[in-house]
Amino acid sequence: MTVETQTETGSPVISESVIRALSRFEKAEGWPTGSILFREGEQPRGVYIIHSGEIDQLFSSRTGQAKPLLVAGPGQILGLSCVVSGKAHNCSATARTPSVTGFIDRDRFTSLLEEQPALWWSILQMLSTDINSCYDCMRTLTHMGR
């Protein structure tokens, strides 16, 4: 396994080979505005690589009120943490704008990781970036923008 390099700005780079490895197995899907990729509480069916558009991540209260608190865009992968941990989705995902994603089925994704262990490093980088996005969101929600 090779540790990937980084850009000068510090953002993680997923190598061309990783993108190729994933794109060979993905199923391209178009999502009109408002369409639902997955719902909160559902078991993860797979991962969604966002190629274009914006996807809202909505959190619901017990009373049914749902708020989009996080937004994902091109280059991000939705459902990754759920596939890795085997846990249900914590939020729902709906297309905020017309979007295109590449879907990889959970079993296929898991076998890809077994076949190409180098992918794990990219997954660590993506999960780390996702955590940082959550911290940014928490700062925004408590009016602590930096």
Binding site: M1, G10, Q65, S81, W121, L124, S128, I131
Partner: protein, 239 residues
């Protein structure tokens, strides 16, 4: 011989009696031996700053025992506690992996044992042991889910009373001890720190706790908090 801070210190990860219960540490023996070879064990008193938000990542800290608060600060000095880290958690992993400054600060809130791994050693360790990569990914996924739960609470709670009720209920689930009079909680955080967990002021927390006490929802004696009416707390929460 008594150990510092009365901690039960374990220097050898392979002999650690709780390793199997820990998401990151529960790896096969050869991998744990490799981990043993790169980690430095240290004991810290309460209030020790492990790393600071904005600092270049030096490496990761595995929290073997004790607890630590992870905080982020605004330029005006306002602090938010994003998480109370529990034993078994790896602190500073995302910054270390991305090679970017730490996003949060980490400070022990109890005497703690931590195993520190230098950044280069940790990256080599991940590079060499696939199992360590998988366990780190699971640990990061867990952290991501925990952060999403916080976002839900911060973003959907209608009132500060609701946020405080949610926090107390979480503590009941995670750390509560059932007694005939209710759920007993050992609260190690000050009112200021509780305020930092729900994004409010110390004064508001003190006022709300007094209000909960007056309504006989809780009872407080020193650092012990007894939840005497959990149903009322549940009724306050919509998230």
């Amino acid at each position: 011989m008594p150990s510092p801070y009365n901690l039960e210190v374990e220097y050898n990860c392979n002999e650690c009696s709780v390793r199997a219960e820990r998401l990151f540490c529960n790896m096969n023996e050869p991998v744990v031996r490799a981990l043993d070879g790169v980690k430095f064990t240290s004991l810290y008193p309460k209030g020790s700053l492990l790393f600071v938000e904005g600092e270049d990542p030096r490496g990761v800290f595995i929290l073997c025992s004790g607890r630590a608060k992870l905080t982020t600060s605004s330029t005006e000095g306002k602090t938010l506690i994003v998480k109370i880290a529990e034993p078994g958690e790896v602190l500073g992993a995302s910054a270390t992996i991305l090679g970017r400054p730490y996003e949060v600060s980490a400070e022990t809130i109890e005497p703690s044992q931590l195993n520190f791994i230098k950044r280069d050693d940790f990256l080599k360790f991940l590079n060499t042991h696939l199992e360590a990569c998988m366990h780190t990914a699971q640990q990061l996924s867990e952290k991501y889910h925990s952060a999403q739960r916080e976002i839900r609470s911060l973003g959907l709670s209608q009132t500060t009373a609701e946020k405080l009720a949610r926090l107390l209920l979480d503590w009941c689930v995670n750390d509560g001890e059932a007694t005939p009079k209710g759920m007993r909680l050992k609260v190690l955080l000050t009112h200021e720190e509780i305020a930092q967990m729900i994004g409010t002021t110390r004064e508001t927390v003190t006022r709300l706790l007094s209000d909960f006490k007056r309504r006989k929802i809780i009872d407080v004696k020193g650092s012990t908090l007894l939840v005497t009416n959990r149903d009322d707390l549940e009724a306050m929460v919509s998230v």
